[in-house]
Amino acid sequence: MRLEIGKINITDIRFADSSKIEKGVLYVNPDDLKPVVLEDEHLKDVTFDIAKPGESVRITPVKDVIEPRVKVEGKGGVFPGMIAKVDTVGSGKTLALKGMAVVTAGKIVGFQEGIIDMTGPGAEYTPFSKTLNLVMVCEPVEDLKQHDYEKAVRMAGFRVATKIGELAKDLQADETCVYETCGIKEGIEKYPDLPRVGYVSMLQTQGLLHDTYVYGVDAKQIIPTIISPTEVMDGAIVSGNCVSACDKNPTYIHQNNPVVEDMFAEHGKSFNFVCQIITNENVYLADKERSSNMTAKLCKMLDLDAVIVTQEGFGNPDTDLIMNCKKIEAEGVKTVIVTDEYAGRDGKSQSLADADPAADAVVTGGNANEVIILPKLDKVIGMLDYVNVIAGASDKTLREDGTLEVEIQVITGATNEMGFGYLSAR
């Protein structure tokens, strides 16, 4: 599959009378977007706000982050099975609005995590402090059940991102990147001397607030399968995940997966990037066994020499991670696993809930229990009502001077397990 991503660099977002993109500036009329959100009868109102890098703004609680894209050539449309029809995407040309994001925020449940600070020490930990953010906070109708509220906000985010993406459909890209995968036979013929390397992407799939969708299917129902990474760039995988802010993968990170980006950069040079394998992280132990068995089998059937495995979330996904690692290694395929750590505030505890000697090549996104003091900021988009009860907080979190003492796990993307961040130990 061959996909061109045309990048439209967005340098500013402003509210205006008409919605358009002109000279890199996105002009948004909230009245154009409001009906797009409110076409869902479960939502009664929405407010839009803009948060820019460096501003004294805190967005919380964050649900999803989405990059607006539009398909201009090739089959299908963005977010297939969710917004567009379920055509197979990943070929042709897609335009992406770079430097900006649509952020859905607001309380789905009282303990929902996710902080994006646009300035200060917290901003260093979240990649979304560097994007111009169009934030939407949706208000549900009375007595709406959490399941329906989550779905309504999730879908509203995709509709708004799609609407904004469509503003770019006639624009010329500032830069174009081409991503091309080979068929199995073609890859072997083209790169006979290069190692065959795959990417195993583990998707969070445990239930309400912990779900991921593939072409519109709840991924807890899938058995592991092969996907072209270019399909994911067109929105074939979307997030319905609201918890575990620091190590969940918002839709934006699936669209811009850094592992895929780096693997494409080496494709045909140091290895042959064969494909992406997607698997799930269910709560039921037999499901875990089945999925890890299938994942290892796919690696073997594809004659892979090595894989990179990325995780999403903490706790029982550690078990899926280790099962995948052990079983793939047992098939003679080398693994590198990418995870994060919950090693306690002092960093001295066991990092993962599971371990195995086969996991001898591990990349970490950092210790989610590390404590940080977040300063009081001038403006909050969303609400701080329950900040003391979210994960990584305590009754001492909101201090008298308005600062927050929290673990970095409250920050969206702080220890992302695809390595989507700016901090490193180097």
Partner: protein, 146 residues
């Protein structure tokens, strides 16, 4: 000492592929499943639910769902629901009694890394925790019953 209230309904248990009990401290789980499944409701902490599961495993039961299910962290949510396959059930056993016990030990260890929020959670947020725990437990029940 834990007092387990066994909420009846053995009448459907004969048709289940796997015979198991649902050990929970979540009243919503109890309300939803007590008419169709064997529910052991214990009005106790999440950590003590794991302790109770440990006792049942020592008696020969095996665990069906991961005790650290959910990315709602240990000690953050006060609720925990564990599905335990009954000793002697002839359907396939995914993990052994020893492996089940080890999973519980690892889960209890994880509890030590998170701040205990007991008593700090507002009632409306408690309801939200119950809903999410119910959704995650339902996902396991769905897998167990199919």
């Amino acid at each position: 000492m834990l007092h387990a209230l066994v909420r009846h309904s053995h009448f459907l248990s004969e048709v289940f592929r796997v015979k198991y009990s649902i050990l929970t401290n979540n009243p919503m789980v109890s309300d939803k499943f007590s008419s169709s499944h064997e529910v052991l409701f214990c009005d106790t902490s999440a950590k003590e639910i794991l302790g109770k599961a440990s006792e049942m495993i020592a008696e020969g039961d095996t665990i069906l769902n991961h005790p650290l299910y959910g990315s709602v962290k240990p000690n953050e949510t006060p609720y925990r629901t564990i599905l335990l396959k009954k000793k002697g059930d002839p359907s396939f056993t995914q993990i052994t009694k020893e492996e089940s016990a080890e999973l519980i030990v690892k889960a209890l260890r994880a509890y030590e890394k998170f701040t205990d929020k007991k008593g700090q959670i507002p009632p409306e947020v408690l309801k939200d925790y119950q809903v999410v725990d119910l959704a995650l437990a339902s996902s396991a029940v769905e897998s167990a019953d199919r």
